[in-house]
């Protein structure tokens, strides 16, 4: 309890503040007015850009009342590299390598989406084997990304073990990528009309190995973290996102599906040959952190299902269609979208009939997913903010571009 003198002192300080700083005395971006309640103990803390739990260089300024979050303002741009400006001076093939560096955990998807836009504009077809390669690689990448997310999720909640477990399996997938195109992360693999190289002979056996290995460990993961009582306490009922809010902010991916909205590009706007595969879209019920986690865990199972079907049906034949030296898009604008591990990635190209785009815009899933943060954390404790950020599964360079 604050004594009378303390209350008086506080009131006098407020008077002074109001006298000398007549405008909004709050830090940039805050909107709620200063509290009139003399009992309130409001203060601001800064998290980031150099902070291990912000997954990169995100900066978040939090307004706290005691330990409870009142308002939160994310600050972006600490890794803004101007990729969209650079894109205007490079050909479409040159742009592929820049798209890798947007969301480096789903580099294949970025490549794929850009290639799909070019294919759409120039009516380039893909042989069946090429389509299978695309789908299998995409699902491998989804597994790889979700594994990393799971490892880091545990780390954000204070357990380091999950990190080592997840990276153990992730390296198996990285081995496949390495054999495929020589790179582990920034792959630059897909091209308009297929991919830059055929898969090696060892590809199918390796994927088979991986499927059996992952089937075993996914169960283990559930026991290790997702059925752990501390994990349940820290995620159930935390960061509830109602479906209307999620839609209004343009959230996609597991964040949207965790809130119970059934939208997955692979199913509802199928690209490549996803309509030939049998898989489920996992949905959450309440839209809390736990639901988002379970949706991602379930998505890994579904990715394995797709991979199993693809492995048995993997066709032989040409892996790509005839490449061209330059791709000149006819005048107009083109848009295509894919479902990345983080949500809906769109590529919007405005072409003036040149070999280089007039304007290239990436619709980043993380950008929209992060914008909803304030709605989710208000009323929770500061420690829950980290959990919520972690279940959003952000990649900051994709937000800043």
């Amino acid at each position: 309890m604050a004594t009378d003198t303390e209350k008086n002192e506080k009131a006098m300080t407020m008077q002074l503040i109001n006298k000398y700083i007549p405008d909004n005395p709050l830090p940039e971006g805050f909107r709620l007015p200063l509290s009139n309640d003399s009992e309130a103990e409001e203060f601001f803390i800064n998290i980031g850009p150099q902070h291990p739990s912000t997954h990169g260089v995100l900066r978040v300024v939090v307004r706290l009342d005691g330990e409870t979050v009142v308002e939160v303002v994310p600050h972006l741009g600490y890794i803004h590299r101007g990729i969209e400006k650079m894109a205007e001076n490079q050909t479409y093939i040159q742009n592929l390598h820049l798209s890798d560096r947007l969301d480096y955990l789903s580099a294949f998807f970025n490549n794929l989406c850009l290639c799909m836009t070019v294919e759409q504009a120039l009516e380039i077809g893909i042989p069946e084997r090429g389509e299978y390669i695309r789908i299998m690689i995409s699902e491998l990448q989804r597994l790889q990304s979700h594994l990393l997310w799971w490892g880091v999720l545990g780390m954000d909640m204070g357990g380091f073990t999950t990190f080592f477990y997840a990276f153990r399996e992730r390296e198996l997938i990285n081995d496949i990528f390495e054999e495929l195109c020589g790179a582990r992360l920034t792959v630059n693999y897909f091209r308009p009309g297929g991919s830059s190289a055929d898969v090696p002979d060892t590809f199918i056996p390796r994927v088979k190995n991986l499927i059996s290995a992952l089937r075993k460990v996914l169960d283990e993961y559930q026991t290790l973290l997702n059925r752990n009582i501390i994990f349940l306490e820290r995620t159930k009922g935390i960061g509830i996102l109602p479906p209307e809010t999620a839609l209004s902010y343009g959230c996609t991916g597991a964040v949207l599906r965790g809130s119970g909205v059934n939208y997955d590009v692979r199913r509802h706007d199928p690209y490549s040959i996803y309509e030939q595969f049998d898989f489920d879209i996992p949905l959450g019920k309440t839209g809390d952190c736990y639901d988002r986690c379970q949706v991602r865990m379930e998505e890994m199972e579904q990715s394995l299902r797709i991979l199993e079907q693809a492995v048995t049906r993997f066709p032989s034949g040409p892996y790509r269609s005839q490449p061209k030296p330059t791709y000149k898009l006819p005048k107009g604008s083109y848009y295509s979208q894919v479902e990345t591990p983080r949500g809906l990635l769109g590529v919007y190209i405005v072409s003036e009939g040149e070999t280089k785009p007039y304007r290239l815009k990436y619709r980043s899933p993380n950008f929209s997913n992060l914008s909803v943060l304030n709605e989710m954390v208000v009323g929770h404790k500061l420690a829950d903010l980290i959990t919520i950020l972690s279940t959003l599964d952000l990649v900051i360079p994709d937000i800043d571009r």
Partner: protein
């Protein structure tokens, strides 16, 4: 710099006294060797990760590669407890201040490893980028450079070992002991290394020449085989399988909208009928031109009209057409899967080229950040926006970089090809 290796003046004086005793210098050397050995094998890195290289750094820490073998596993979240920063990723202008602060906060002796092309020179973002610092060494002194984009974990391990070598060799010429460094004659290590490399190259050439001559002596009749040219592969050109249109057809969409807004037209196809719009193909996304004065009313209509079902804002973006801007809004129906794009022309202000249009951020909440992005990069103002600030760049950044006439020679290195 004023860094004195952490030793108190008394210890340093004692060290200097011992040095003068015959043979004493060896004792000092031995102690310094021991200190350097210990230092090299227990460097604590800071968790400093900006982009792609961070993931490879994490891989290096994880089980397969295991950075702990080198005594580097104690990743510190606070720079005040760390000895080394691995610059893992691009350093942007906004981050530069923070990096310098971090470096200054770190207790000496301190080391920096530049991991990957971006930290070395800006890498893929060297040309045309207006916000990337072209190399970490423009801000802080770098000890080891690891090329790669991103470098493999093995390369990072190699870099770590190089740093260990460097620390171990520091010994008496420890750069952190500024006083003594100033006394020794300046040594141009790079020139020395270059000389060594040149000598090695020369030796190798010599050996190769001898081997070649020996081979020719032994096999006088042999001729070099001609290099075979790789066979040019031919690929098929299959027809493209078109995506099936989902949800409400373009025909119905355009018909419904034109009943309400007769002045709305299809972009690129003026005065087209709804029937003709439906024949533009299953992949064609309806792209409408809305007069700027109706922009807000149109957005309100498509948001509130439940039969259209356009509930998800994909993005709001802008295209700079030199004379005017086009603000493009892209909507999606999460229920049915159809999409609708619409655009409004924003006239450019004659003096500074800014434009102005109503906000739609109260209708689609997600538009708030998209509008801030458009404001930041194009300078289009949004009336009644609740919080119109720059989102990516610093508040005092000159100009709007995504405009076609943006030119800032102090920041941008133009691509020469």
């Amino acid at each position: 710099m004023g860094v004195n290796n952490g030793a108190s003046p008394l210890v340093r004086q004692a060290g200097e006294l011992i040095e003068q005793i015959p043979g004493g210098i060896k004792l000092v050397d031995a102690v310094e060797l021991l200190v350097a050995w210990g230092r090299a094998n227990s460097v604590w890195p800071l968790v400093y990760a900006t982009s792609c290289c961070a993931i490879e750094m994490m891989s290096t820490i994880a089980a397969r590669h295991d950075l702990a073998r080198f005594g580097y596993e104690v990743m510190r979240a606070s720079v005040r407890q760390a000895d080394m920063i691995i610059l893992a990723g691009t350093i942007s202008e906004k981050m530069a201040k923070n990096l310098v602060t971090l470096y200054e906060q770190m207790p000496a002796p301190k080391y920096i490893i530049a991991m990957g092309s971006c930290a070395i020179s800006g890498g893929p973002f060297y040309y045309d980028s207006y916000s990337v610092i072209k190399g970490g060494d423009r801000l802080v002194p770098v000890d080891v450079y690891i090329p790669g984009c991103p470098p493999r974990p093995e390369a990072l391990l190699q870099g770590v070992m190089q740093l260990q070598e460097k620390i171990k060799k520091e010994g008496r010429r420890n750069p952190w002991r500024v006083g003594s460094t100033l006394q020794v004659p300046f040594e141009n290590l790079f020139a020395k290394a270059q000389e060594e490399w040149a000598a090695q190259e020369k030796q190798r050439d010599e050996e190769l020449r001898e081997a070649r001559e020996q081979f020719q002596r032994e096999n006088p009749k042999s001729t070099a085989s001609k290099p075979t040219r790789q066979k040019k592969e031919t690929f098929p050109t299959p027809t493209r399988k078109k995506q099936i249109a989902k949800g409400i057809s373009n025909w119905t969409l355009l018909q419904t909208i034109q009943e309400k807004f007769p002045s709305v037209e299809v972009y690129g196809h003026p005065s087209i009928s709804p029937k003709a719009a439906a024949e533009l193909g299953s992949e064609y996304i309806l792209d409408l031109v809305v007069p700027p004065e109706q922009y807000r009313a149109f957005a309100e209509y498509v948001k509130n009209e439940a039969s259209l079902g356009l509930d998800l804002l994909l993005q709001l973006t802008c295209v700079d057409w030199q004379e005017y801007f086009d603000v493009v809004v892209q909507l999606l129906s999460s229920r049915d899967g159809h999409k609708l794009f619409f655009r409004s022309r924003v006239a450019k202000n004659a003096e500074n080229g800014d434009g102005e249009i109503e906000t739609i951020s109260d209708l689609y909440r997600g538009a708030e950040w998209h509008e801030r992005e458009v404001y930041d990069l194009f300078g289009v103002q949004f009336r009644n926006h609740p919080d119109l600030r720059r989102i990516f760049l610093e508040n005092d950044f000159p100009g709007y970089p995504l405009r076609k006439d943006y030119d800032d020679p102090t920041r941008v290195v133009k691509r020469p090809y």
